[in-house]
């Protein structure tokens, strides 16, 4: 991973250069899969020489007026298992969104919309990015959110920059495994979508205060504080992007994002849904954060019978004490069907199975790498593998994989205590 980062390449970029899927690079870097020796040699050679397959013409960057180090919006290998997907128009932008790792398993999410747009406000945006990175760089404990905003406002006043901003601290909660504490404020920046589920809910993600720099009473809006369990996704979009998506109406743009982010294509790369050839009228930035922590996250060849059976036995052991043999058997049958579905649609390729215990349920995801061809009708059909999944799990959710493939998510509710005592 270090070699790739030294080259300044994303996983996607490296995958393209070696002509392999990004999933392979991702699994390889996470230590979940060892590629075949020939693939490994290919990756090492491309990393060493900086070559690989030619970058397509369309993907060559337009020469910028001046170039600066391209720092990632979301650092890899952060202190929390949070995955970030960012997107912005290739044009120079005065908006920025970033995610900075802080001490004690905390991250700061900042989205700043500098008044004006494009190259004219780029220096201000770069200055503020640097200020935020510097301010957080020396911390030994997570800051108070209000202190950050106060100091940020002082700096804005000093350098005479007007902006809108959203700031959030996300830290691991001590209450339950995979729970996070979320604290956020927004000033002149439309609060992002905080989407929970499936089943989906969208609680309030921040109060909206006046634009920055705010002072005195204006500055004292209270942060929204929540403890949240996965799955959750935090969806940030600049007003320029919302306006373009909603054809001039930000509310409509927000509905577009909500529909996409609660639909089966929500894991696909943002550029598939956001890229456009429409001329730029305002800066367009997007950032999506989601929890990617699991108790078990395994990638293996679907044809590997021993590995598949070992996994089923492990899952059975995790739930049987609480569920009893009958529900456990039905649940494992659902997993068998999900894996059979992965084999049918994913060929004999790699399947990834994830498992997480949550306070009220167990969640299992089975992801294949095949062409996505699981249709809505197929999912709802009776007398089918999906009907068996619905029998063994209380909820079944199907979505498209990040690049390709299908992810089947099974949610198995834990028995209520009263039911247990009656039994």
């Amino acid at each position: 991973m270090l070699a790739r980062r030294r080259r300044g390449w994303t996983q996607k970029e490296l995958a393209r250069r070696v002509g392999r899927s990004q999933t392979i690079i991702s699994h390889f870097e996470a230590g979940r899969m060892k590629p075949a020796p020939s693939v490994l040699r290919e990756i090492e050679s491309v990393l060493a020489e900086g070559g690989g397959l030619p970058v397509r013409e369309a993907e060559r960057a337009v020469s910028p007026v001046f170039s600066l180090p391209d720092l990632p919006a979301v650092p890899e290998g952060g202190s929390l298992p949070v995955r970030g997907d960012s997107w912005q128009r290739p044009e120079q932008s005065g908006d920025f969104m970033l995610c900075l790792p802080l001490p004690r398993e905390t991250i700061l999410v900042a989205a700043v919309d500098v008044a004006g747009h494009g190259t004219a406000v780029l220096p201000s945006a770069l200055y503020l990015q640097g200020w935020l990175r510097g301010w957080t760089g020396g911390l030994t404990t997570p800051p108070r959110l209000q202190s950050l905003v106060e100091e940020f406002c002082r700096e804005l006043s000093r350098v005479k920059i007007d902006a809108g901003g959203y700031f959030a601290l996300i830290s691991r909660s001590r209450g339950a495994a995979h729970a996070v504490s979320y604290e956020a404020v927004a000033y002149g920046f439309r609060p992002p979508l905080l989407i929970l589920g499936p089943p989906f809910r969208t609680p309030k993600s921040a109060d909206l205060g006046p634009p920055l720099p705010a002072t005195g009473a204006d500055l004292s809006i209270s942060p929204v504080r929540l403890d949240r369990l996965p799955p959750w996704r935090l969806v940030l979009a600049s007003d320029g992007l919302l306006s373009r998506l909603g054809e001039g109406q930000e509310e409509r743009g927000l509905r577009f994002l909500q529909q996409w982010q609660t639909g089966p294509a929500r894991d696909e790369f943002p550029e598939r849904h956001l890229a456009t050839g429409v001329p730029l009228t305002d800066d367009e930035s997007f950032l999506l954060l989601q929890w990617t922590g699991w108790d078990m996250d395994q990638a293996f060849a679907i044809a590997d019978d021993a590995e598949r059976h070992r996994l089923l036995r492990t899952l059975g052991q995790k739930v049987e004490d609480a569920l009893g043999p009958r529900r456990t058997a039905a649940f494992l049958q659902a997993v068998v069907e999900a894996m059979s579905n992965a084999r049918r649609h994913g060929g004999e390729g790699i399947v990834t199975v994830r498992f997480r215990e949550e306070p009220e349920c167990w969640r299992v995801e089975v992801e294949d790498e095949g062409p996505d061809n699981v249709g809505e009708k197929q999912i709802e059909r009776s007398e089918s593998g999906f009907a068996l999944m619905r029998r063994g799990a209380q909820a079944v959710d199907v979505r498209k994989g990040r690049e390709r493939g299908t992810v089947v998510s099974l949610i198995l509710e834990k028995p209520l205590p009263e039911v247990e005592s009656r039994a």
Binding site: A303, D305, A306, R308, H309, L312, R326, A329, A330, L332, Q333, V336, E337, M339, S340, R343, E348, S382, E383, S384, G385, A387, L388, R391
Partner: protein, 115 residues
């Protein structure tokens, strides 16, 4: 009966003209042409075929559907074909797939020979 992880079933021949297909505890293997040829051939050459599912706790839907097709083939050619010892989950799986009424279900392999 002991199964290797990659064996969906093991065939035995307790008597002339009779075959027993013992299915693995987890029968979720890729159903190959070789499996199809072997079991179709077994129905063709045997007078009676018993599918012993007494050890099976999970069976993939495509295997169960295929057993239903084999049973239909056996019926069309005047052969005996039955599924013995189906556990609760396998029975429920067959019901969800709409096969519950169609399959010849019996308690033991010995009961298949009486069909």
């Amino acid at each position: 009966m002991e199964f290797k992880e990659d064996e969906p079933y093991i065939v035995t021949h307790p008597a002339a003209g009779r075959a027993v297909v013992h299915f693995a505890p987890i029968c979720d293997h890729a159903r190959t042409r070789q499996h199809e040829t072997e079991l179709t051939g077994l129905v063709e050459i045997s007078q009676a075929v018993a599918c012993d599912l007494s050890q099976t706790t999970q069976i993939a839907s495509d295997w169960l559907r295929w057993l239903a097709r084999l049973q239909a083939k056996a019926r069309d050619t005047g052969k005996i074909f039955g599924l013995a010892g189906m556990k609760e989950n396998v029975l429920a799986t067959a019901d969800v797939l709409g096969l519950g009424e169609k399959l010849n279900k019996v308690a033991t392999v010995a009961d298949v020979w009486k069909l």
